[in-house]
């Protein structure tokens, strides 16, 4: 019950951040992973304050987005949101 109150009353309604902190909240730690053939892949790890509400939001929209990605086209499916259940 309390977890649900925290989720629905304190976090999810306020997932948009304070405007003065947007550049930091939308950023994160940046580094590169090495790939074959001397290529690199840029990786960004967001702040915890960003990832926590994002994770809750994904759980909130998961079923709807999964339905959208799986049923819009007859011969094309996407499984991007299926792992978040």
């Amino acid at each position: 019950m309390f977890h649900d109150l925290i989720r629905t009353q304190l976090i999810l309604p306020y997932v948009d951040f304070y405007e003065g902190h947007l550049s930091e909240a939308a950023g994160g730690k940046f580094f590169a992973l090495e790939k074959p053939k001397n290529n690199v892949r840029p990786i960004i790890i967001g702040l915890t304050w960003r990832r926590a509400p994002a994770s809750l939001s994904v759980a909130e929209v998961n079923s709807d987005v999964t339905n959208f990605l799986m049923s819009t086209y007859d011969n094309f499916l996407q499984f991007a949101c299926c792992h978040a259940t």
Partner: protein
């Protein structure tokens, strides 16, 4: 056939991402088969999170990078989206209509995808059309041209001929990763000799201009937000609007969103419910409720 989009998350156009959220295109693409103002399908539940995506992608973000000399860099990013799981969902929903249009034209093919990895199953002739050397670009690239930068002219990728041309200038493998990474972090001024290694055609001025986000897409309904879903009675009040009666004291409205009170359990105990409890079971139930009431009282005070 397996396809992979190189550096997909960091190179996707934010304008296209907001167009999908708004369910309306702002530019024509796909050889003008999709024109300005046409509708785009999108998952309805994502509309409520316009504010979140506006926060994450409507502004240039600051990335913190520490190079191989332990020197920190603060870099401005204004393209793509990465950093949390919601960006993955947003990316998948953004490219879904474009890839879906490709498969609509080729009903003999079936496709499955996980974000930027695609698997196309079908007769080879149907998958590659009639002219193999040029069929794949005509099959895939036009719908994707609105989503990603092309390899030429923007410095994201370099052709194989360029790679072969500058292969002799490459530094040792263990150092190249670090220095190419420095390129990615816009530290290329300190590594001029590596300009032949990575085709970097973007100027610093271009990057600064790009950091100013100009996204004309607007949400379909401004009140269709996650905030109004949980607080439906909250009205949006313009703080700059003049009061209706300036002489009257401002009315204080206190909104209590938690439906909890210390004596709330009394109203929940109906007479019918008491009749169904007998003996020790009834006493134990009362003990539990009183204990919970005392617990809430001490926690609250």
């Amino acid at each position: 056939m397996q396809l992979d989009i190189i550096n997909a998350f960091c190179s996707v156009s934010r304008q296209a991402q907001f167009d999908v959220l708004a369910e309306m295109t702002s530019t024509s693409h796909d050889n003008r088969n999709v024109r300005d103002g046409d509708t785009i399908p999108c998952a309805p539940s994502l509309r409520k999170y316009w504010g979140y995506f506006q926060s994450m992608q409507g502004h240039a973000s600051t990335l913190h990078f520490t190079d191989h000399r332990e020197q920190p860099h603060h870099l401005t990013c204004s393209r793509g989206g990465q950093g949390d799981g919601f960006e993955t969902v947003h990316f998948a929903v953004t490219i879904h209509p474009s890839i879906g249009r490709v498969f609509q034209r080729h009903p003999a093919c079936k496709g499955a995808a996980i974000c930027d990895d695609y698997f196309v199953v079908g007769p080879l002739q149907a998958a590659l059309a009639s002219k193999p050397p040029s069929a794949l670009p005509s099959l895939v690239l036009p719908p994707l041209s609105m989503l990603f930068l092309s390899g030429r002219g923007e410095g994201q990728n370099h052709s194989s001929s360029e790679a072969q041309q500058h292969a002799g200038d490459r530094p040792p493998a263990d150092q190249s990763q670090r220095i190419i990474t420095a390129h990615l972090m816009q530290c290329w001024k300190n590594h001029q000799y590596l300009l032949g290694h990575v085709a970097l055609t973007r100027s610093e001025e271009y990057l600064k201009l790009q950091s100013v986000q100009r996204i004309p897409a607007v949400p379909k309904d401004e009140r269709d937000t996650i905030f109004h879903e949980y607080f439906p009675q909250t009205d949006t009040v313009d703080p700059n609007a003049p009061p209706e009666n300036p002489a009257a004291p401002p009315e204080k409205k206190k909104v209590w969103n938690l439906n909890w009170g210390p004596l709330l359990w009394i109203s929940e105990m109906s007479a019918q419910r008491l009749l169904t409890l007998f003996g020790f079971e009834h006493i134990e139930q009362q003990k539990k409720e009183r204990t919970m009431m005392l617990f809430y009282y001490f926690v609250r005070n």
